[in-house]
Amino acid sequence: MNLAFDLLVGLSLVWVAWRIVGSRDHFQAVVLFITFGLILSLAWTRLQSPDIAIAEAAVGAGLAGVLFMDALGGLSSSPGSPRPAVPLTLLFPCLILASIMAIAVLFVPEDFLGLIPVVHGALTDTSLEYPVTAVLLDFRAYDTWLELGVLLVAVLGVMGIRRIGSISGSRLPAPADPVGRWIIRILLPIMVLIGGYLLWLGAFAPGGAFQGGVVLAAAGVMLWQAGHPSLGLLPRLWWIVLLFCGFLSFLILAFWSLFHSGRMLAHPENKLWILGVEYAATISIATCLISLVLASPGRCRVRDN
């Protein structure tokens, strides 16, 4: 039964991906990509990775969908190319590559355990109970810190391209109709609630900074889609504080732990530290993602119309 489901998910993923690449219509490709994200989160659920399913649904299907749709509107809709999208000369090398990799995959050992024993053995030494959160915020905190850096640099890069110093005054979509506004009014508090709940849950169950952050970001982007500037209303200073707080809290932790115990990024005994870092990371992830969506269309020119 499970095997049949796996086959179905696998085949539909490959088929949808193939359709995305082969489709001539850009709009169709974007819609198919959102479908792809949803099927992928189905696969995550099947593979017992609810954390990734949440993140994928919010980011892969949600935020990426908004970004692509938005960009599609911003780009001149060039007509589909008349020739077939994928030339045959490319197809054969790719087929060879795919088969080599498929053969290599056959050699993955059946009894492969990875780092499960190591992580479970170390869980008693950390203040977090849920292994994924423990890996993210404690064992491999350096990765998480640098990943917050990637988010921040992406925001800086977008602002550099747009030559802006803050996101206030970003271009807005048209205001939503009353029905849309009504839906948002109901959905928004629920999403904020879910985001906060996920964050709180992260210490002992699936959830945590990433998932909470991306759900909050989705809420913010929804607000923006409805024609409300959301984060754009904040004064620049506050926006910078929200943007930087995740990266900054890791930085402070790094300095403090380096000079206090000589081991960079070692969490102090007090559980408040790790919670503070996690909350700051959540806020920063949400703020950065919202800013990325808000800043990329550029600044609205008030005098133009």
């Binding site: 993923l13 690449v21 911003g74 990799m101 780092l115 890996v135 890069g157 800043a295």
Partner: protein
């Protein structure tokens, strides 16, 4: 034939399809979408390694890696899309073709 095999072969196929799209499509948005398909394939491969149907449960390290990867990928996507939009605004074209752009003056 088990789930690990199905998902990892799906994953490598997705990676290849994405790569093909990246190389084949002249349109910028389509290139970026293809990159996202590649990323989806890589993440699926990592998670298929993490999955153990019965005893020890799911390996948290690949899960953490994929969560990190998802956020990195969305940042990169947003950045690339912003570049693509700016290019279209300036040149009116949403492609990356090789025009000899000699600004000799």
């Amino acid at each position: 034939m088990n789930s690990l095999l199905i998902y990892s072969i799906t994953a490598t196929s997705l990676f290849t399809i994405g790569l093909m799209g990246l190389a084949a499509h002249p349109n910028l948005i389509r290139k970026i979408i293809s990159l996202n398909i590649m990323a989806g394939g890589v993440f699926l491969f990592l998670i298929s390694l993490a999955y153990h149907p019965d005893d020890p449960g799911v390996d948290p390290v690949p899960q953490a890696m994929v969560l990190t990867g998802i956020v990195v990928t969305i940042s990169a996507t947003a950045f690339a899309l912003c570049l693509a939009r700016r290019i279209t605004e300036i040149t009116g074209s949403s492609r990356l073709e090789d025009k000899p752009e000699d600004t000799d003056s």
